[in-house]
Structures are given as C-alpha cells and as structure tokens.
Subunit: 145 residues, 2 copies
DNA sequence: CTGCATGCAAATGTTTTGCAGTAAC
DNA sequence: GTTACTGCAAAACATTTGCATGCAG
C-alpha cells in the first residue's frame, strides 16, 4: 500500500506546491500520533521538535493534509477542530462518553448500507457522512453508582 | 400535548430563574421560525420586534432553551452554531447538499435501532446522537451536467 | 530566479464574560 | 428587598490573513 506520506508529497508535486521542512515535521507528528488532535495539540508537539514553527503554518498545513486526502477534520461539538488520519484507515464513526470524554471509533456495515439507501431515497448521492453517538460508557456508569 | 413554551416556563420556575420579556421574545421568534437558525439570524429577527435586545441575551437564552429541552444545538461544519426545535418534533438526522446547502431532515428507524445496538455492544448507554449525511441532491446533480 | 511558504502580528468572527444598572419574584 | 437578568463593551477563543522575508524547485 502507498504510504500516507507519499500520498501527501505526490499531492504537493501535482499542484505545484513545495515540500518544506515545516510541512514534513507537521505531517510526521500527525501520522505518528493516534487519536484526534486539535491544531493546538499538534502545534505543541511540533514545537518540541522545532520551536521555530508557527501556529499559522500548522493551521495551513492541516488544511493541506485534508485536501491531499490523508487527514480528516472532525468536530465533537466543543468548537475546536480535530484531525484524524484518513488515509490507510477505514472509515469509522464516533462513540463518545459524555462523562469521561473517551472516544471510541466504531463502524457498523449495516448502518453504512442503510445510510446510502436513505440518501438515495431522497435523491441524494452520498459523498460522506459523520455520525456521533453520545452516551455514557460502562466504566463511568458503574463508578457513578 | 404540552406546549414548548410551557415546557420552557416550567423549567424557568423549577430552577428559580425568571421569565423576562426578552426571553419571551426570543423564544417566540425561535418557535415561529422553522429550520436551523444561527444566533446571529435569531438576533436579527428579534431586533425587528424589539431593537433593545442585546446579542449576549440571545446567546444566553439559546443556551437556556437547550437546557430546558426545547432547543437543540447543531453544527453543520461551518463553525457556527445553529439551533433547531427539539420539543414536539421527533428526532431526525440531516441530509445536506454540498452544492446548494439544502438541508433535509431525515429519519430511518432501522438506523436508529442499529445505533442503539452498536453502542450497547461497546458497553455504552446512548443518550443522543448526531448524524450528518453529506452529498449532492438531485437538482444539483442534473443542473451540473 | 520565480513564486510559493513562512513567522509574526494584526485582523476576523463567534461566543463568553464582567459590570453596573434594572426588573422579576 | 433579593436575586437573577440585561445591555454594553471588553475579553476570550479559534482561526485566518497581510506582509516582508526566506527558501524550494
């Protein structure tokens, strides 16, 4: 399988953009870290490696990563954008615990299929979707008792 | 069925809060207008009725409406909060056209059921969920050809 | 060399908050 | 009379942008 980094550099080349050390550092950090990082969190981690990188570049680069198809912007509802890896990791939805903030990536093929059908019934061609399930996880439920 | 306005005033009373003319005007506008209004749009419409109402009050009141259970905050991904009526209108998901911005409220009982199951499989008790389906509607698809 | 990319700071846009005055209960 | 509520302006955020400089191609 093609590597995410390669997808990114090819996208750069194809669009007459440039591969810079800043961009490489940001992509590296992004690909290394699992989960759903905010721009702020990415910025903090990149600064450890290279303190000279600016916030604006992180913002600009994350947009670029989304355009290139290796990142995806997600919103959990707290007003901050988060990014997750898209390339090489199959699509998934989110199951979020409202008590501890824990976030599970879940997938249900049956639901996926029904979403397509539902859209089709309304004359839509689906391009993507986001599904967030909010609830309370087992641990929080038992410890609250 | 109990009216949404009544649900709101009861919530106010139960929590030692106060019914003010500003709040009443904002609730009235919110309940009258269908769709998914931003705070800014609500503010504009309220100002027509009473120019003295401030933006901050609209923000504060919308939070209150959510707490009381008659409003729900939704995010379509453009960084602005929108509010839709919750009380008296059954739950629904969103089917959004990426070309014209049109927004259909949709519901599929089978998906709802599977979401519960999915959450349960992971030990979660579901409290709510948000599902956004993005695609292109029939009109946009044909006019683009 | 050319033009895209960078860091900085200023600007933007949305939402929140402090405060002194006002009004509901 | 309390206590919560209001409008205003300032503040707090996250994010974007203008600009002079730097550097990849």
């Amino acid at each position: 399988m093609k590597e995410a980094l390669q997808v990114f550099t090819e996208y750069i080349a194809k669009n007459g953009l440039k591969v810079t050390p800043q961009r490489l550092r940001i992509v590296e950090v992004f690909l290394r870290e699992a989960g759903h990082l905010t721009t702020e969190e990415l910025y903090e981690r990149v600064k450890v490696v290279d303190g000279s990188v600016g916030q604006a570049t992180v913002y600009r680069t994350m947009k670029l990563l989304c355009d290139s198809g290796i990142a995806k912007e997600v919103h959990f509802g707290d007003g901050v954008a988060r990014y997750e890896q898209k390339y090489g990791s199959e699509h998934h939805d989110h199951l979020i615990c409202e008590a501890c903030g824990r976030n599970l990536e879940v997938i249900d093929e049956e639901i996926e299929r029904l979403q397509e059908e539902l859209a089709e019934r309304h004359g839509f061609t689906l391009t993507s979707h986001r599904m967030y399930l909010y609830g309370v996880c087992e641990d929080c439920r038992t410890s609250k008792k």
